[in-house]
Amino acid sequence: MTGALFAFIFALLIFISILAVQGYIGIVYVLTGYASMGLLLFVYYKWIYEPYRENAKVLQLFAAGYTIDALFDRHITLSPEMDKVIEKVQEIMETYEILNATKKQAHYLALQNQINPHFLYNTLEGIRGETLSAGLDNVAKMTEALATFFRYTISNVENLVTLEDELKNVNNYYIIQQYRFGERLSLSVEYDAQDEIEIMSCRVPKLILQPIVENAIYHGIERKIGEGKVRIKIESTAKRLIITVSDNGVGMTEDKLQEINDRLKGMPLDYIKPENEKHGGIAITNVNSRIKLLFGEEYGICIYSTLNVGTDVEITLPKITERNQVLYEK
């Protein structure tokens, strides 16, 4: 279609030029002809071709599973009917999303009821008391860590917590794991000391760090011979919080890495599908999807990994402080 249009314009220009050479029309008409054609081409490119190309690309990426937001966030409308169709799709997807989220929440509540948290905490406190009386300080410390870990995981149901609380939970998890790995496992948290107060008060979605650290330990360090190091590096900019969880574990192959990164790039709803649960890395996919659903596609997780070297998981989040928390919770 485009080719035919260009061929027609080109033929028309040649025709005008021939007429001018033969003296049938004046040079002013020729120049006007060329200028009009140029204008026509510009209008065609800017108003028809470019919007069409951008729309086609968005639709392709949506079909390939890379984006959802872009479909609903188009700058140009192709036709009112098309807009209505997209609106309907958005409506259906939101229902689907809410439905799934509700299902998950119901499942989660059922689990919570089964556990009966207060009974669990009381029992753990009881064990701790007994072990302290028996002089088993280590067991008491471990039980305390376990109780605190469960309390944080099960009891608090709010979406956003402070980074400080999230790090405390990671530390509790580390204390529990230390009983298993001993000196073989070390955890360090690094950030700019000058920004400590600001960084620690930043709000992050609950339980985004512990699953990543757990992954680093189970998939990276557990299978490694020698000392395992997990490092959490936190950097903050005006708009973002960048948290990198690195381990010096066994890493993964390039194919596996590509597969996971492709999945992380994809639609945040994909992880809900049962067939995806066959593959590994559920925790990371889950955290990534939560971040994308909460804050948008531009945030999320990216993984760098090399076999026998280690893995770096980079989490990018919006910088949410106490002041702008309300905006995000809405």
Binding site: V58, T237, N261, K265, C302
Partner: protein, 488 residues
């Protein structure tokens, strides 16, 4: 809190079904030098192009100063405030430094130019940074270092938020590179950010705050300054070199094949050194001054003001040097693919090019060519029968350059900056080709301005500074340069 100058997020660029950037992620903070060590050159151009202009991308997002400037949804084709400094200067040779810095930049709108005002303005910048550069000098008279500094000043004056430095160690000597690094650090302190693209991690270690390793248009890993050690690089980089077998000495001799005795030229000051037969020697020119003089003296284009040169214990005069190949002296120039090959000739014709000019020349006949083809096919492969060498891969073309010298059975070969512009895989291949020459008994002399990679093939290192001999290190002492080069 840090200021994020650049953020490239899941950027994928595809051109003609070729993936140039593959899920590329990179972020650079203000006042930071971010190293980008490229294991191969794939995607480097695409990344730099994308830094400068917000051209269409297949997927991903690009942010400058935390503002979205380019995304897969919309690429506005606008320009970003990014300057690129690379080997090939972007300065106008016939204009002065001040003109290049002030006039030849975006946003300059004056019609009447007062050179003195410009020079005075420039002087303020140079004085603050401790740069010794006269604004009235023509760019054509500048050294490579001064050209780089001029480009840097132009970027600073332009207010570039991010300055990309690409492979400059190929044009700067070791001394100049150190000076340039300290300038980068100075401007870093002033709030400028840099992305320092290079092929050698040792170079990045010296100047960068963080470093990303890139291969095939993809970031493999990002290292912080506290992680800058060979152990962390080994799996990506040095590990490849571990596969290269080091070639021992094929000729055990203590005789010098080439001796310079108090040689003086425009840039040499009583230069004295001896190259031992069979040994691979790296001649490190700290100031990038004498390499061309050595080549000139060895091929007869230059005559020394004083001193003597001995080749195989006989006086090597300018008259003899004009027929250097007959006396067993060969050269491999810098960027040999563009300077030493004839693209219109077939592989075999290129390969046999020096056969009738070498010592004991052979008249080229069909029988001789066939015999050479049979002898070298196991080493070169089927590429030897290629009629259009433009269709060949870079490695095959390097084979052609090195095996052409191999056929001549030269006694000594001078390789000028052999690893310049080569990615890691090619550098490894060049080392293997040099080992082939060494195995044949040819003495290899590497004329270099930095030692990265050179020591992997060398038996001796001679350092020349300010045109005169400074030090000599045998292989046993190479550990002293562990942080500068890969040592096998």
């Amino acid at each position: 809190m840090k200021n994020e100058v650049l953020r490239m997020e899941h950027v994928t660029v595809v051109q003609s079904d070729m993936i140039l950037l593959n899920d590329f992620n990179l972020h650079i903070f203000q006042s930071e030098i971010m190293g980008l060590v490229c294991i191969n050159t794939n995607g480097q151009n695409a990344m730099l192009q994308l830094l400068s202009q917000n051209a269409p991308i297949q997927y991903g997002r690009v942010y400058f100063n935390e503002k979205l400037v380019n995304s897969y949804q919309h690429s506005p084709m606008t320009m970003n405030k990014v300057a690129v400094i690379e080997q090939k200067s972007r300065l106008i040779e016939n204009l002065t430094v001040a003109d290049n810095v002030y006039v030849m930049r975006f946003g300059f709108k004056k019609y009447l130019i007062n050179s003195k005002v410009l020079e005075e303005q420039l002087r303020r910048y140079t004085q603050d940074a401790g740069i010794d550069l006269d604004g009235s000098r023509l760019v054509s008279s500048l050294t490579p270092y001064e050209k780089c500094v001029t480009e840097l000043l132009r970027a600073v004056v332009m207010g570039a938020k991010l300055i990309a430095i690409r492979e400059i160690s190929n044009v700067l000597s070791t001394t100049d590179l150190l000076k340039f690094h300290s300038l980068l650090r100075y401007y870093c302190g002033q709030g400028f950010s840099f992305v320092y693209i290079c092929s050698h991690h040792e170079e990045a270690f010296k100047v960068c705050d963080r470093m990303a390793i890139m291969r095939d248009g993809k970031i493999l890993r990002v290292l912080g300054r506290d992680q800058f050690n060979n152990e962390n690089i080994a799996p990506y980089y040095i590990g490849e070199f571990a596969k290269v077998k080091r070639e021992g000495l094929s000729v055990i001799s203590d005789k010098g094949i080439l001796t310079f005795e108090d040689v003086c030229t425009e840039h040499m000051r009583s230069l004295t050194f001896t190259i031992v037969k069979g040994e691979s020697t790296v001649l490190l020119d700290m100031d990038n001054a004498i390499i061309q003089d050595i080549i000139g003296l060895m091929n007869g284009q230059l005559y020394q003001h004083s001193g003597k040169i001995y080749l195989k214990n006989e006086l090597y005069t300018q008259k003899l040097a004009k027929h250097s190949l007959k006396y067993g002296v060969a050269f491999i120039q810098e960027n040999p693919i563009s300077t030493m090959l004839f693209p219109d000739m077939s592989y075999l014709t290129n390969l046999c090019f020096l056969v009738d000019k070498k010592r004991n020349p052979i008249r080229l006949s069909k029988r001789v060519i066939n015999s050479i083809a049979q002898e070298y096919e196991p080493l070169i492969g089927s590429a030897i029968y290629q009629t259009d060498i433009r269709k060949l891969k870079l490695q095959s073309l390097y084979d052609l350059v090195y095996y052409r010298i191999h056929i001549c059975k030269a006694d000594i070969v001078f390789c000028v900056q052999p690893f310049a512009n080569a990615d890691m895989y090619l550098r490894r291949h060049i080392i293997e080709l040099m080992n082939q020459l060494k195995k044949q008994g040819t003495t290899v002399v590497i004329l270099a301005t930095n030692i990265a990679d050179s020591l992997a093939v060398a038996d001796k290192l001679i350092i020349v500074s300010k045109g005169t001999f400074q030090a000599e290190y045998p292989r046993e002492d190479f550990y002293l340069f562990n942080s500068e080069s890969i040592i096998l």
